[in-house]
Symmetry: C3
Amino acid sequence: MTTPQANLPLPIGIITISDRAYRGEYEDKGGPGIIAALSELLETPWQPVAIIVPDEQELIENALIDLADHKQCSLILTTGGTGPAIRDITPEATEAVCQKMMPGFGELMRIASLKEVPTAILSRQTAGIRGQSLIINLPGKPSAIRTCLDAVFAAIPYCLDLIGGYRIETNPTFCKSFRPKS
Amino acid sequence: MTTPQANLPLPIGIITISDRAYRGEYEDKGGPGIIAALSELLETPWQPVAIIVPDEQELIENALIDLADHKQCSLILTTGGTGPAIRDITPEATEAVCQKMMPGFGELMRIASLKEVPTAILSRQTAGIRGQSLIINLPGKPSAIRTCLDAVFAAIPYCLDLIGGYRIETNPTFCKSFRPKS
Amino acid sequence: MTTPQANLPLPIGIITISDRAYRGEYEDKGGPGIIAALSELLETPWQPVAIIVPDEQELIENALIDLADHKQCSLILTTGGTGPAIRDITPEATEAVCQKMMPGFGELMRIASLKEVPTAILSRQTAGIRGQSLIINLPGKPSAIRTCLDAVFAAIPYCLDLIGGYRIETNPTFCKSFRPKS
């Protein structure tokens, strides 16, 4: 992975996965929800590299691969497609392109979401590592996106350090990130 | 899946998985434990479609497939065979017949059971989707069955909606189910 | 598995997985950390069967197989190699040699570690059964090792009973183990 130029904002991949949003029948609320959350959580300058894809496994995989391998996105967040319905295929696409799965992210995001709705257990969201990129599945609804990001964000900067991704700093007003002393 | 006739009670699959219960050396307590729990949790009229099978992966898979594909059971509950012993093979049989796994069910059922016994982590119980059916593994003991069903039942009606299964209503005295506004 | 002689201390496998410790560039703290914890947690006489291997999947698998199949270790604990970095491959090696995975161990160890550091979700530690042996992945740092063992140890004696391993008793000052009445 080429390191982004030092004076440019870091690219963060944001993939909205929704048949209806892709066809324009439905306004994408997940992508803007992620952007709004990151605007508070991150102190390091960043820019979204956003794309909307339908619930098709091959298209989701292609988008993940492009952002990880060609667009220098050490952090890639998806929204949508994690439920039990037949078209919900985001976790399978994520697993297919990752070398390592990170079960702790999905577990903790479900525990955090359960405090809000009992249907949180229906989310199959997961996370994994592809090369020097961390991919995290988020729910479709903006309020649920924020709950999930708040639950796991403190661990993301150190995770990116460990996989050789770019260095990010969080905004301590919204998230106290943690880097253990080695 | 053919929708059950409107005036008939909904069929719910109940599979007791136990070598000893199958051979008649041991009274099946898991199946009756599930029936007793559902009698309180469900308001919608229902009827059990119950079967006892030994701890043989192929026989468990056949029973799951029959209840899901031919017996119109949108909800299938198993009891037994989720531990670490060599004959405990229920989770593997479940995964083999499901198109999608639902990790949140097992995670939450273990967390709930841990409040009662520290050996709850030895349960490998899981859940998954086959077609328009939700399959959930439950423990063998009636008290543990109830703990697990109480933990996850509020999410089951909406899950069945999402996969195109039959519509069920819970008895609010025992379980407040939750259907998010779409 | 041959049962160890009744008058000999039970062998417990301890594998330190670290490129730097293997090359002698780094003092192994994980292995001694496990030994210190077990010295308090166990009442049954035991002896460590300890080995240091680099982060190479085949070498980790060979060490696990040797301890399980030839060294009579019904309990095998690993330390290190569970993170997201490219060389961290311990969970994959563990899964490759196990017939059954035990997801409840990793889930609970992450929940317990989260009370100490938010980066606990980065640990991919898991557990599984090979034959009559229980294999559990632990973190690399001694303080995290103890947190994880304290979280799950009460369930280990009964797990070993269920898989036909040796019988161990815990020291009730440090751990109240639990064996359900069958």
